[in-house]
Amino acid sequence: MLNASDKTLLKTVADLEGLPKGAYNIRKNGKLLSRQVTANINIESNADGSGIVVTIKPGTKNESVHIPVILSEAGLFDVVYNSFIIGEDADVTIIAGCGIHCGSKEQEGHAGIHEFRVGKKAKVTYVEKHYATGRGTGRRILNPTTKVFLEQGAKAEMELTQISGVDEANRLNEAELGPESLLLITERVLTDGEQKAVSTNNIVLQGEDCRANMISRSVMKGNSRQIFYATLTARNKCFGHIECDAIIMDNGSNETMPSLKAEHPDAELTHEASIGKIANDQLMKLMSLGLTYDQSVNRIIQGFLK
């Protein structure tokens, strides 16, 4: 059952007050805690028991799937392989998230490998939040991987957020876009203290007239460090854009490497990248409206990571 700490983690990573409506699969300390399927959404454990397969019937509209993971067992490193098969013309929201509660000296971690196969003209919104807490000194490690395959006219909107408390994160996002498909990724990462986060993104624009937009927002507090790699490879007439902004606070550091590869003459690829402190004119404006310096900083960061 869910204890108080589990409930707090669920609230933070999946915005859940209790058990969700619709389909869900809650995993705690490497084991299934609770599952529900619906007429249109099936969830079953995969053949080797290492994860789940979520199958969404073609044409399913306005349904959601919650698949949160919570960890509170010292020394556990939970690896899970989840597949999502989204039928043609479906429109669904998948809410994933991992919350770690670390109460000991031993490290805890989770690696979620999520593979999405989005059928023709289907649309998926994927929301993933990572958060760690607890008084323990053990390192909290999260290494998520997402692989997305978009068929003709499919659309995927992915919101990937690392809120706080994660000591080490190594994220990999891979995508292959079919004709006329659309991929929107927004990644927001806040690190503090001695934390480190690396994000590697490889997006292949394979089909004609496909589009990809990758937005990354990073905030480094304390001595934390973030490294961001993003590569768009265009193999057809397509459009791709990378926008990566990083705000450095305190003594944080950042490396940002957007890269564009055009393997087709009609490819249109652009990127914009910036690293810096909070802009002075933003601070001045909010202070002139009555906020203090610290309140202004918080408000700007809050908006930036919204």
């Binding site: 902004d245 409206l289 700007i300």
Partner: protein, 250 residues
């Protein structure tokens, strides 16, 4: 209501390492509920002066007295809380902050109806602006309208507008002038506008012409006209160094 006493803003020139007064000993008293237009050639110190009053620039020497209290050493936040508001010439662009957010910060109001009331009262921005992000996608005119609206929404006792008409279309300038006048009449808002635009100069009770960091004219528009049409004469007739008492009027 606002008194500038022997006010100086001094910078050190990087090349010559010499000190230069951008604001060069200004003495002036702004009266409550009047409309002031500050004009003058580019680089004469208009924006610097406006920023000194808001606390964005730090006073090098002299005092700023606001409603009887010396505010020269107060932060921007403290001055804002005392009732001074400032419209930037080039407003900040944010990421993830909407017009609604700025209005809420300026007024402390989150209620949808009340925010819509504020937007209608200001009039200059359509209601649909409320959830617009104040980011790089806004046009120059749109962001200036939002800037003006947040200034008015703060209900200041002293409102400073630095070139509010930059990027604003011709059809909006006169309504903008009327709006500032209306706010002044209804709330007795002392209004200072830095502008070259005739519409603002004509609306003003007092014209101040600033040149090389000094006030060279304070008075009504008719008497200022010859200076405004031929300010070069004023600069040309600048008194030689040492003759501090000499005036620059033609």
């Amino acid at each position: 209501m606002l008194e500038l006493k022997d006010l100086y803003f001094t910078v050190t020139d990087h090349e010559s390492v010499k000190q230069r007064n951008i604001i060069d000993g200004v003495n002036f008293t702004f009266k409550k509920g009047l409309f002031y237009a500050i004009t003058g050639p580019n680089g004469s110190g208009k924006t610097t002066l406006a920023k000194l009053i808001m606390g964005i620039n730090e006073v090098s020497q002299g005092q700023i007295i606001f409603e009887g209290n010396d505010i020269s050493k107060l932060t921007i936040t403290e001055r804002a809380k005392r009732g001074i508001a400032y419209s930037f010439q080039q407003p900040a662009r944010f990421k993830g902050i909407t017009f609604r957010d700025l209005l809420t910060i300026a007024t402390g109001e989150e209620d949808e109806k009340k925010l819509l009331n504020i937007v209608s009262r200001v009039g200059i921005c359509p209601l649909s602006f409320l959830d617009k992000e104040v980011d790089a996608k806004l046009s120059g005119g749109e962001i200036k309208k939002i800037e003006l609206a947040t200034t008015i929404a703060a209900n200041p006792r002293l409102a400073i507008y630095d070139e509010p008409d930059t990027g604003i279309d011709l059809w909006t300038i006169n309504p903008m002038v009327k709006l500032l006048k209306k706010e002044l009449i209804e709330h007795l808002t002392t209004t200072i506008v830095v502008s070259h635009n005739r519409a603002f100069l004509e609306a003003a009770d007092v014209i101040i012409i600033i040149d090389k960091g000094r006030f060279v004219y304070e008075g009504d528009l008719p008497k200022a006209l010859h200076l405004l049409t031929d300010l070069s004469a004023c600069t040309y007739r600048r008194p030689p160094e040492g003759e501090e008492n000499a005036q620059c009027f033609r």
